[in-house]
């Protein structure tokens, strides 16, 4: 087994080019194959919205959508993002796949973002990008989730500030805003 103290311990793998789509824009990332997608995203101009909270896939602050699936980007090696469609928090406002499938105007907040503002879903804000991605992903899969489904859908996103109450209220409010006449959930 290679020992980090051996002379070739710091030999490097070749960097690779990762062609992918980030928030609807074709991008090429040049990086080490095992570099975390989290780091590679954050190095891109204007994409520091995805956060590192733990580096072990526990806190969800690094959550992004990879080919439509919510993933913890700290656990995705860059090489596996080749050919992928990635959405980060920067792609939620004015983004292309909001609830109901209607495109938002550039910079227009999504229903979930607006609800977080109105209902106090963000305090310090560090968990907020991952939380909004998780909530967005949840509501796109299940537009009228029950209370239990909301809690479960967000269980991978840790928040230390809010106690989750107002995050929960924000998500419920966003559901109502997009389907005001829907049957009440349970």
């Amino acid at each position: 087994m290679p020992d980090s103290r051996e002379p070739d311990a710091h030999a490097r793998a070749r960097k690779i080019r990762v062609h992918c789509e980030i928030n609807g824009r074709a991008t090429t990332l040049e990086t080490y194959p095992m570099a975390r997608l989290l780091d590679v995203l954050r190095e891109q101009p204007g994409l520091t919205g995805t956060k590192e909270g733990c580096g072990e896939g526990e806190c969800g602050a690094c959550a992004v959508e990879l080919d439509g699936a919510l993933v913890n980007s700290c656990l995705v090696p860059a090489m596996q993002a080749v050919g992928a469609k990635i959405r980060t928090i920067e792609g939620v406002a004015g983004g292309n796949s909001p609830l109901r499938g209607e495109p938002l105007h550039d910079g227009q907040l999504s229903a979930i973002q607006q609800a977080f503002l109105t209902h106090g879903g963000a305090q310090c804000g560090i968990c907020t990008p991952g939380m909004i991605l998780a909530a967005t992903n949840l509501l796109e899969r299940n537009p009228q989730p029950s209370d239990a489904q909301i809690r479960e859908g967000l269980a991978g996103n840790l928040c230390r500030c809010t106690g989750y109450t107002k995050i929960f209220e924000s998500v419920v409010a966003a559901c109502r805003a997009t389907r005001p006449h829907a049957e009440p959930r349970r």
Binding site: R12, P33, M34
Partner: protein, 287 residues
Amino acid sequence: MRSYVPAYELQAPRDLSDVLERMTREPAVWKPFAGGTDLMVLLEAGKLPHRRFLSIWKLAELRGIEETPTYVTLGALTTYTDLRRNEVLAREFPLLCRAAAETGSVATQNRGTLGGNIANASPAADSPPALLVYEAALELVSAGGSRWVPYHGFWTGYKQTGLRADELICRIRLPRATHGWRQYYRKVGTRRAQAISKVCFAAAARIDAGRIADARIVLGSVAPTVLRAIETEKALRGEKLTPASLRAAQEVLALEIAPIDDMRSTARYRRRVALNLLAEFCEMLSA
């Protein structure tokens, strides 16, 4: 990040045979890398000494859930999300769906795979107890061919399996023989979600004329491997469900498991809870 990331190779093979060929040509040099939910955590912690990986994430040969009248067969790259969404599994193999739902979080479930979970061989894994209750079999492939092995006995020690250096887990096969079995799964973790288990108890039994005709009892987190409690099953087989037979089975179970103290829990707690979950299982059978 406590590893020297630039030294790690992760390459995309053309297809499954390409992977197998390379694993045969350079034994123990290349290891498979699926969803990364275990390996990347080790990388982050500076605990991944192996440096060269082949990404199998996109290999179609390892995906898919197939049904025949006798079996449901899962590709090794079946994710926990895939398990949760499958109707046949929900009907006939509910313990596996329960396990998947209690593994990590939505984000982990989208990337964690059954094959990866089996290969990682943690005694605290959530799905293996269910797989063992269902008497799963594994198809292991190499450049030289393939072989089916029972999952029971695949585990050879703490985080060790019978997987050879040139082999890959290809499929997991579940016999569709659960009809009439009462099934039970409970994971006792550190909290309600995203928890590593302190004790995991998966069991199934067939009741006939008030007696336990057959039972399968599997526990996680109470031994170096996930443990099928064969002796406890024997103690219950043929018995009526009475407080006395339960107590007797509990005594056997207490000796059959080997829980330890670690940073999550204590041997004492694990032992007591294992016995209590056996009681809960039996209670369910009586109801």
